[in-house]
Symmetry: C2
Subunit: 572 residues, 2 copies
């Protein structure tokens, strides 16, 4: 039996029907040529089921002592493991587009795991167009974290299209094989060492709530020895009570395209990702008339390497990134973001281990501590999460089926209705966005607006010829409320040419601006809901079976505007 | 705003992740000839969504006051109703048999409804073989009961294959139209009047727990003025802790076949249903070596009409039926069951309204009161539920799609891992069985054994020529535990001829017995799990698309042995 540490326990303690604390991913595959979908998927499922000894967390369930959830918790081997419960076949209704996939994943991601069993589910999903299939996996965050889940992904699949895996990818043997293959490179066991060591201070006895209270005192400035750099996070429409239903959308962008923007502005890939997210959020909130005057803050998990830590090759901490959503100019916005991430990392450099520990716990999931104490409304810890998880940079295969994308689905917590997580895989970066269904009914627009924000940056730094997009100024005119969006958009379209400030940094090669492009892009969205529904139905009728109607070359939902339109809209 | 009464509140108070308190049904349809499945289902969904004003409970959500769940609760109109959340498209993985349908319904039935929204979901399920589709609906029991749900079913569909419904079946208009059509016949508003009146005594103030305590005191004999006829319910393997996962199986039998058995033995249709259930449970528990020496008791809701009740045309109470599972002879077993149901009804005849009220609440869902007080282990209130809900006795249609069957999916509660509910519809009786997945991994056998029990009765009373089945005595030899079932079955098969006692009632026309038939029926089940899985896969490969491989004439899962084998086994 392994004892759960404080943070892992906290994910269980904080879990409610409205805020399940599991993380997941949607892995998208293309069937090997000639393979029959049903046969192939059943073979995969049988392979998964075939383990005689399941590795952690697949074969372990939660065990509590006399004090129940308030006492120490353990993982124990589940000798009555009912593997058919965990490995499931699912299917999409016709016409089997990404839209139907996202609708299903939204539902699956919104239900609680059963605590009487090992805390995971894996759904093999058939019925996608273009000979694709998907695997949605769901793990309790108490059992697994982002880094661990990427290692699992890598251990389950192969870099060779020809390799066939004979023992179950969920088996202890598979885990051993993977560890042996890793060799000198990052050792799996070491990944969480720092975290484990740092947390151990608080992980003694049964006094979990005592620890929570001490953390909260620090948070609210009473008795705390932490100078937290992001006090004063603004309220925004996405920081509200969340309910139990989710929306999931996903999209891929070429990794090089995103990195090029970061490079051009002397920043990192992660800075570019944050800038895409910031641009999208600025526009989304502007359209709702909910953009706060102060900048939004994002909780951003980062990789930390500390000198003098002998046992660790890696550790994950978190910084609070200023998204500069109150800055209109895209390049200035980028620079503000960059400055804040540099400061965040610098803060960790100078902190003592105990401070890092506290900061990490507070920043990674402050809701865990603040919600039970009723503090979340007064002290929103951050506005959203933007989490960048490094994944495998070469194509992977599962018994010959090519892995086209790894779309993460993470946690929405009370007061934070949006989570943006991304995984770099092969030549792409795969975004998975999870939102509270009620708070963000139009979350698919974030995907569109991220593309807009990227284009805006590309144009601003001269990576893309063309006009600087005027989306920010166009939407600024929208004054009639979210419900009459269609009307305000035609207003935007009718406006005379708008001038965007060119960058003052000297890096910009932006040209003069017209509002035309932004208008064209928004025009397509101004259909009424019922009109859109009946249109999709008509389309569906004519392309009911698979393979017809595929517009794109790539096997993944990519960042092109046309694809975003057809693929990224889940009416779920 | 409508205030919830005590019983309705209790369903909410007693709900846990492990024991969701919703009821549901699977309605099975055949597409009208020529209709395209996708187009047709989208039209149905659009029709459902089209209401401007949704009738109760579709447009109402739960509202609590300052005391939360411990104070009074109300239904209030949900002005932010998100209808796409409630009306859902789902699909079955290939080959789309009833097995895949049951697996999906098992999962859908095992998740909690979202209390932030109106407490219902409706899934339009495509991908069934033989041009069928299914609708799985799910309502919180606090919002709807069995009688109400049948009225809803009747109001949604038509007795004419030609009729097309133009306003949403979920709309207030539809409810009005239905009530008007009912005319003098049972008025919908009146259906729960007695219950409402009787319960009102306890439904004042916020003292719900006080009422619970008084009820529990009565239950345990301290301060109670109730003589409860089923004190001393035995423990059995199905009366244990349940977890959150479910198994759902369903099957239809011809109504006349079941009624004929009841008639032949001077009993009711309901007595025959109880006898089928009793025979099946006896055998199931024998095979697990878990048949208690005392008879199992079933909670059986019954229709009550009381003279002197002016406001009521109908009221539902419950009796405790002695299933006589400790009686070997099928006719004696039937007679014991019959005697206990007669006594149960007679008890109600002589009770004062207040007593009926108490008894009703205790019998309908004693777990609601006993679980929070920690009494359920010491006083199992009954071993299972067998609930007979009268449904429409003529064929119904939904915009031309024929309703083939209405399979109820009811509640499994802590300590009662099995619920058998049935609805009489058209010429059939449609059984829906819900069980705790962990406690009853082989619940599909109950379906097979019910058919066996019915055949045994038919043979015993001379309705069927043939040999009296020796299932009871054959399985009696199984002594090596549930895990080695395959082996014990071949033992049973190899046994010499067994002699079943012929009935002592004089009604029996049973002939001498051989063990051969029972052996043949069990032989087919003695495959190992992996063998069965690979076989189904091979089959699936050759009959991947719809319409091939359909053995049966009827559109519903019927009681024939061959169909039970192919259709009723959900590996979910």
């Amino acid at each position: 039996m392994k004892r759960l540490n404080l943070l892992d326990s906290a994910f269980l303690l904080a879990e409610r029907r409205e805020t399940p604390m599991h993380v997941g991913s949607v892995n998208l595959f293309t069937l090997p040529s000639g393979a029959d979908e049903q046969t192939f998927l059943h073979q995969l499922a049988d392979g998964l089921r075939s383990a005689s000894d399941f590795q952690s967390p697949f074969g372990e369930r939660l065990k509590t002592g006399r004090l129940g959830m308030l006492g120490p918790m353990y993982w124990e081997r589940d000798d009555t493991l009912d593997i058919d419960y965990h490995i499931r076949h699912s299917a999409l209704p016709q016409p089997g587009r990404y839209r139907e996939l996202f609708a299903l994943v939204s539902r699956l991601h919104g239900t609680l795991l059963d605590r009487n069993r090992p805390l995971w589910e894996m759904h093999l999903i058939e019925g996608l167009q273009k000979r694709q299939f998907a695997v949605y996996s769901k793990y309790h965050h108490a059992a697994i974290d982002g880094v661990r889940s990427i290692h699992l992904t890598q251990s389950m699949y192969s870099t060779s299209a020809r390799e066939r895996i004979h023992d179950s990818p969920l088996s202890v043997e598979s885990a051993k094989r993977y560890r042996a293959a890793l060799g000198e490179a990052p050792k799996k066991e070491e990944l969480r060492n720092v975290a484990e060591f740092l947390k151990s201070t608080y992980d003694s006895g049964t006094n979990v709530y005592g620890a929570l209270r001490r953390l909260a005192l620090g948070w609210t400035g009473r008795g705390g020895d932490l100078a937290l750099p992001w006090m004063g996070v603004p309220h925004s429409p996405i920081n509200t009570h969340v309910d139990g239903a989710r929306r999931f959308v996903a999209q891929s962008w070429p990794f090089d395209r995103v990195r090029a923007v970061g490079k051009a502005l002397d920043g990192t890939f992660n800075d570019a990702v944050l800038a895409m997210s910031a641009g999208a959020l600025r526009r989304y909130l502007q359209e709702m008339h909910g953009l706060p005057k102060k900048s939004l803050k994002a909780m951003v998990p980062v990789s930390l390497r500390r000198k003098g830590d002998i046992d660790s090759s890696n550790a994950v901490g978190a910084i609070s990134a200023d998204l500069a959503t109150n800055v209109k100019d895209p390049i200035k916005r980028f620079e503000s973001i960059q400055a804040s991430t540099r400061a965040g990392k610098a803060m960790f450099e100078g902190m003592a281990p105990r401070e890092v520990e506290l900061a990490m716990q507070l920043m990674q999931m402050p809701g865990l501590f603040l919600i039970p104490l009723g503090l979340i409304d007064r002290y929103p810890p951050y506005n959203t999460v933007v989490s960048n998880v490094p994944g495998p940079r070469q194509p992977m295969y599962w018994n010959g089926a090519r892995l086209e994308g790894i779309y993460p689905a993470s946690i929405v917590s009370e007061g934070v209705a949006l989570n943006i997580t991304l995984i770099s895989y092969d030549n792409n970066v795969d975004f998975g966005i999870v939102a509270c269904r009620r708070t963000m009914p139009q979350v698919q627009r974030i995907i569109d607006y991220m593309e807009d924000a990227l284009v805006e940056l590309e144009e601003a730094v001269g990576l893309r010829k063309g006009k600087v997009r005027a989306s920010a100024s166009a939407t600024k005119t929208a004054k009639s409320g979210a419900k009459s969006r269609a009307r305000t958009r035609s207003t935007a379209k009718a406006r005379p040419k708008t001038k965007a400030k060119s960058s003052t940094t000297g890096r910009s090669k932006a040209k003069k601006v017209s509002g035309a492009k932004a208008s064209a892009s928004t025009r397509a969205k101004s259909k009424t809901k019922s009109g859109a529904a009946s249109k999709s139905r008509t389309k569906a009728k004519t392309s009911a079976s698979t393979r017809s109607g595929s517009k794109a070359k790539s096997g993944a939902p990519t960042g092109s505007r046309a694809k975003a339109k057809s693929g990224a809209r889940a009416r779920n």
